[in-house]
């Protein structure tokens, strides 16, 4: 087949392909989706408030009518409210810096774990033990803080190191036993959860009040110069570092190569085993950092926290364009995916919707996101 003579039509096709890829990489579409969802909630919250206020006014008026108050006085009752003004207030509340800060704080835990998970998923793996590692992280920090001689910083570092070790063990098992990551990390999920419970005697561990609790706390008046809590800053710095790692380093290229085609990676002299162990160790480290954030939010070590968190994290990566078949995914995408999840959760709860509605919406979003992704990847034949 002599396809080497590129016809103009082929060239257009190929240009289209490159353009499509660019859109994937920039996360442009995802950002748009995030904004759409965000402003949907801004609008819906306002509208909901308008309807509510109108109903309240109506009830008040009919009550006043029963009390035989003349119509002119009824309409001037001070308890009547302007529905549109109330609606605008509700919308403003959702775009306020305070609400944005809350969303950022709530995203931090999933977002931090998603950094590691992105690496794993790009390499065509999966890590189900993330939730358990987060719980272990909180327990280890609290346990160390209760011992003498451990500064908060040292406790945090040791906890993250312990979590990284868990990831390292997963990586060693996956590469040496040649068992698929799903099974190994499923086992590790139970193992680590059990270890966390054992370490804490199946109870929450109270910890002394230290600056660790401030990481994800809402900013006080005197800290406004930080714009967002320090925990969120840590997430942003880490995200930039991992994004650079993925894009500009040998390790990053090797991770993509393993996910794209492991055999090719091997043929090209990528030390597949070593790289995989590094990937899972990093995933453990980031889960440990997520555990630190979780601890900051809880201020206690809780071995039963973050059950099922790994699924949120995987969902964030997948919404962000990660492919479970490997070779695709980006840090920016995963963070936007995590943000989308938080915005849905926060919007639903502010609208007073029950939890099950939120779950249904999140589930639908995941499926739609992946279906759209498949649609985009369908190559013209």
């Amino acid at each position: 087949m002599n396809t080497d003579q590129l016809s103009p039509r082929d060239l257009t096709n190929q240009k289209a392909a490159i353009f499509r890829n660019l859109l994937t990489q920039s996360g442009f579409k995802l950002l748009m989706a995030l904004l759409c969802i965000y402003f949907f909630f801004v609008f819906a919250l306002g509208l909901q408030q308008v309807v509510k206020t109108k109903q309240a006014n109506q009830e008040l008026l009919s009550k006043l009518e029963e009390e035989d108050i003349p119509e002119r006085e009824r309409l001037q009752d001070s308890r009547l409210e302007d529905p549109w003004h109330k609606g605008l207030q509700a919308s403003q509340r959702f775009v306020s810096s305070r609400n944005l800060e809350t969303i950022a704080r709530q995203t931090t835990i999933v977002g931090m774990a998603a950094l590691g998970m992105t690496l794993v998923i790009i390499s065509a793996g999966i890590d189900l033990s993330v939730g358990s590692i987060v719980a272990l992280g909180t327990v280890v920090i609290a346990w160390l803080l209760n011992k003498n001689g451990f500064s908060p910083l040292l406790a945090a570092i040791l906890a993250v190191a312990a979590c990284g070790t868990c990831g390292f063990i997963s990586g060693i098992l996956i590469t040496n036993l040649r068992v698929v990551p799903f099974i190994v990390t499923l086992g590790m999920m139970l193992f680590i959860r059990g270890a966390a419970k054992g370490l804490s005697n199946e109870q929450k561990i109270d910890a002394p009040d230290t600056w660790l609790n401030e990481l994800l706390a809402s900013l006080g008046q005197d800290q406004k110069w930080m714009l967002i809590p320090s925990g969120v800053w840590i997430l942003i710095i880490m995200a930039v570092m991992v994004a650079v790692l993925l894009r500009y380093t040998r390790l990053g290229r090797h991770i993509f190569a393993i996910g794209s085609n492991e055999q090719t990676a091997r043929l090209c002299g990528v030390a597949v085993v070593r790289v995989k162990v590094i990937i899972y160790s990093l995933c453990g480290v980031f889960a440990g950092l997520a555990g630190l954030m979780q601890f900051s939010r809880l201020t206690v070590g809780d071995p039963t926290v973050a059950i099922g968190l790994e699924l949120d994290v995987i969902a964030a990566v997948v919404i962000g364009g990660g492919s479970l078949a490997g070779g695709e995914g980006s840090i920016l995408g995963s963070l936007i995916g995590a943000l989308i999840l938080t915005v849905i959760a926060s919007g639903c709860s502010q609208m007073g919707l029950p939890n099950w509605v939120q779950e249904i919406i999140t589930g639908a979003i995941i499926i739609v996101a992946v279906a759209l992704d498949r649609l985009r990847h369908r190559r013209p034949t």
């Binding site: 096709n13 500009y248 190569a257 794209s260 085609n261 090719t264």
Partner: protein, 514 residues
């Protein structure tokens, strides 16, 4: 002989194909091919790799639709729309790779897809009865119907597959390279079975590279070459030599550049190299400034030999010496020792299709593309652009994904990796597979330039070890050539001492005649 006379009086062929044509893009895979098989007859279909045997059988089995031509089964026009339809009509294919479900039992496999049932429940006794009947039919009652198929030997699995074809009630049985994974004893058993089936009036098409087997088992032979049927004959009226001559008889085009090469120092020495199954006790030496070709048929163990050298496969024993380095080493180390390998399977192994051209070219050595061992995509692209120009890779740029390129361009990308890494020893496995003539010429040009070196540009000559199934290209580009057959490497010949005929004789295991 008696049976042959019985069958020849029925003059309606069981299967008749006439004027079959099939094109893939610009490649003519089949050009006006016809064949006939009578009931109770074994027709051997022979030809080199790529001669069109597989395509013809795919047309017969309904996997491909012919562009032109007609087929008849027992005098009735036969137009299979898909493999299932062909199977139901009575054409069964037994491929080299068996298509059994390993976890199900023998009887479940035999009856798979046509289980007798009432109200959705399988009638187990009926299944058993029919499966046993199918096995008894050709006297292999030693295979118990309750054993999971994965516990059977390859030969027994093949029998189960044939039993399945019989249970469906096939009248034409196609065997594609059935003996390539069998031991000598199993081969004998299979031939007994084929005779048995023949006597029951089946028409059998037997595809094989091994001409000695063809002589033993077939009644007639049809020879394909470059998509055309170039000869057919009763097996008793034709010699193996004549068959080989018909298989290879094509003119060699002047596609192969060959500048003056100076053989330099020895870079690779292999002694008694034995892998898990293949290769078997291989010895060879490779020098700078030469291209050593390895000929042979598919499954002879040539790919395995390269994989063992490159560290992709484990070895059982033997010695590999690469300059100062000795012993087996992983691919990671091989690249550091300046050895590079081109995989025969571009899509599955050779290239990471979802990554860019630049990533694929530079993947083996991601160094020197920026400060602090960072990789700046701009520098990576710059390095790649050099090869895009030199090898004339048609693409939109270094950032384009490899999957959007044509086969020939993909192959050039894979080859660029070895050039970018600047390796001294190149292991090339089927470097021209699936690419068109223009790209082939370009690949040969590159190989020639590598082997010659260029003192003016300070490029020393490299050593090339090349595997190919296409004899003319080995004869055209190599300095020395050896033939591999069933895991063993024959003596290394000087290229002037051999021709296609002698190589084919060696590859098909015909040493006696040669």
């Amino acid at each position: 002989m008696a049976q042959r006379e019985i069958v020849t009086f029925t003059r309606i062929p069981r299967l008749k194909m006439e004027g079959i044509c099939k094109r893939f893009g610009a490649t003519v895979a089949l050009d006006d091919v016809g064949l006939k098989v009578f009931p109770g007859e074994v027709l051997a279909l022979v030809g080199e790799n790529g001669a069109g045997k597989s395509t013809l059988m795919k047309v017969l089995s309904g996997a491909h639709q012919p562009d032109a031509g007609r087929m008849w089964l027992d005098g009735k026009e036969f137009k299979p729309i898909n493999p299932l339809h062909a199977r139901k009509t009575g054409v069964a294919m037994i491929y080299q790779e068996l298509s059994l479900t390993p976890h199900l039992t023998v009887e479940e496999n035999i009856m798979l897809g046509m289980e007798p049932s009432s109200f959705g429940f399988i009638r187990r006794q009926e299944v058993r009865r029919r499966a046993v009947a199918a096995l008894q039919h050709f006297g292999h009652t030693e295979i118990h119907p309750d054993i999971p198929v994965k516990n059977l030997s390859v030969a027994a699995q093949q029998l189960v597959e044939i039993a399945r074809a019989l249970a469906i009630g096939c009248s034409v049985l196609v065997l594609d390279e059935p003996t390539s994974s069998l031991t000598q004893k199993d081969v004998k058993q299979l031939f007994m079975l084929i005779k048995n089936l023949k006597n029951q009036g089946l028409a059998i098409v037997y595809i094989s590279h091994f001409l000695e087997e063809v002589q033993q088992v077939a009644d007639r032979v049809t020879i394909l070459r470059d998509g055309k049927a170039v000869g057919q004959s009763n097996i008793d009226d034709i010699t193996t030599e004549k068959i080989i001559a018909l298989m290879v008889g094509r003119e060699v085009k002047d596609l192969y550049p060959r500048s003056a090469r100076v053989v330099g120092a020895m870079v690779l020495q292999i002694k008694d190299l034995t892998g898990r199954e293949k290769p078997d006790s291989v010895n060879l030496t490779l020098h700078r400034g030469e291209v050593l070709g390895i000929a042979g048929l598919m499954g002879a163990g040539r790919t395995e030999l390269l994989r063992c050298i490159f560290g992709l496969d484990a070895i059982q024993r033997g010695e590999i010496k690469l300059g100062v380095f000795a012993g087996w080493a992983s691919p990671v180390r091989r690249w550091l020792q300046n050895v590079g390998m081109l995989s025969e399977d571009r899509k599955e192994e050779g290239l990471a299709l979802s990554m860019s051209v630049a990533d694929n070219v530079t993947l083996s050595r991601l160094k020197g593309f920026g400060p602090l061992s960072l990789i700046l995509p701009g520098r990576q692209a710059q390095a790649t652009r050099r090869w895009i120009e030199e090898l004339d890779i048609r693409c939109l740029g270094p950032r384009q994904k490899v999957m959007d390129l044509s086969g020939g361009n993909q192959q050039k990308v894979a080859l660029s990796r070895l050039l970018q890494h600047d390796v001294d020893v190149l292991l090339l496995d089927e470097p021209t597979r699936g690419i068109d003539v223009a790209a082939k010429a370009a690949v040969f040009q590159i190989i020639n330039e590598l082997a010659c070196g260029d003192p003016e540009q300070n490029r020393p000559p490299k050593a090339v070890l090349m595997v190919s199934s296409y004899l003319p290209e080995l004869l055209g580009i190599c300095d020395r050539v050896a033939v591999m057959c069933r895991g063993r490497l024959g003596p290394v010949h000087n290229i002037n001492d051999v021709n296609e005929h002698t190589l084919m004789v060696e590859a098909t295991g015909q040493e006696k005649i040669a």
